[in-house]
Amino acid sequence: MIILYDFELSAECYAVRLLLGFTGLAHEIRPVDMFPGREQDEAWFRALSPDGTLPVLDDDGLVLTALPAILAHIAARSGGLGRWWPAAARDEIARWFAHAESLADSALRARWIITTGDGHSLPVLQARAHALLRTLDRHVWFAEKSGADWLAAGAHPSLADVAVFPAVALCEEGGISRQDYPAIRRWLDRVRRIPGFHVMSGVFPAGPARADVPFGSQ
């Protein structure tokens, strides 16, 4: 059974409801009281969605939290993959996913600030960024424990590292210190040492390789 964890006033949740409607895929909706109840911060929900983001799709235990993945999954499950996510247009569609994310960061954030009266100040955005960095730090720490260097599974860095690196590398310009995230700092250094790495203003190259220096003595 497909379960959508949903908040009525969320634009991202609405995108999922739309596609469920278009495809006619059978599903059940579980309302989450995101506002004002902040139910997304409760432990049971964080177990599904570590950053507390909505929507979440649970398809018989396969839990998806990223909107593009949820949409692609619904397209595939409904037998409409070729229509809704044709191979020939994936680059174009990926760009529109990115565009939608930029709009979420601008138009939807403005809408949310007006709607909830919440987050109209820098400290709230910074606190949210710290919460996201904590999740990332924890993820990297556990990955390192299991011998992995990168965000997604595999011996080679993936698009995940590339997509996440810039915002993390530049976050201190937003007044968000990385001081409390040692695992993130090690991961940033690993990305910086990927052959062919380039800097930009505000991002510095890795120091001389010191992978042999034990943690804590740096």
């Binding site: 009525e8 006033l9 009281d33 506002f35 004002p36 600030i113 007006i114 709607t115 909830t116 009266g117």
Partner: protein
Amino acid sequence: MSTTPSAAVLNLWYPISAGEDAKPGQRRSTVLLDQGLNYERGADGGLTVWRATDGATALPVIERYGFIWTSLGTPPAELFPIPEYAESDRFNICAGSIGVNVSAPRAIENFLDMGHFPYVHTGILGEEPHTEVKEYDVEISGERDEVLATRCRFFQPQAALSASEGIEVEYVYRVPHPYVAVLYKSCPAQPSRMDVIAIFCQPMGEEMVRAHLMLSMLDDVNTLTSMRRFQQTIFGQDRPILENQYPKKLPLDPRAETPIRADKSAIAYRRWLSQKGINYGVIPEAA
């Protein structure tokens, strides 16, 4: 340019937050009548509210109906009564505080209007062809200083979450405060009693409000989450309508807009605001 609020405006109580959102030791800020305010709940549960520009002077504060109320003037000793709130078998809920780009009186007037139900809340609070607003009674109660609309009836496909089929619903509306409306609505679960739904407006600016929604329901079946969701769906449907009204401030001159018979309560509301000397969020009658 914003209006300098009259004494009648300054001396009112205003909601600024759901009580449950103010956790001990967390300083929060908001805006009321174009003024920045801070507020904080102490470890003992007591509340302090002060102007962002004046940390030394504490503003009046009370907690009623699940919300925190303050005033920038000299408010009455007590807030308007909602006796039902104290009934022990009711489910009292803060259903959300939602920002809307409109004046507070426009938001109140929309809340009083039944004519839009079939068109804006299609399939829930109304449905074509049941579009008629039947004759109802309106009075300005001098004794209680409020606008009262009674005998309002409307056919609703899904009057509340606890309704299983379309019913003719009876409404009573009270406007006990210039920026507050309280709606009593026959309750599908208990036909002899009424659900209470209130909108408490916090005018942040003349054309920007936070609408605090309060429910006092006779419903022991549905969950808090689903009841909040129902109200937020309804309010979310109203929001674009409210935000597209022009002018955003409510004109008090009876000739400024053309009412129909169904707008009786709105006519009384506008007259009452005029009589009280409310000048904020409205376009006053020319002297």
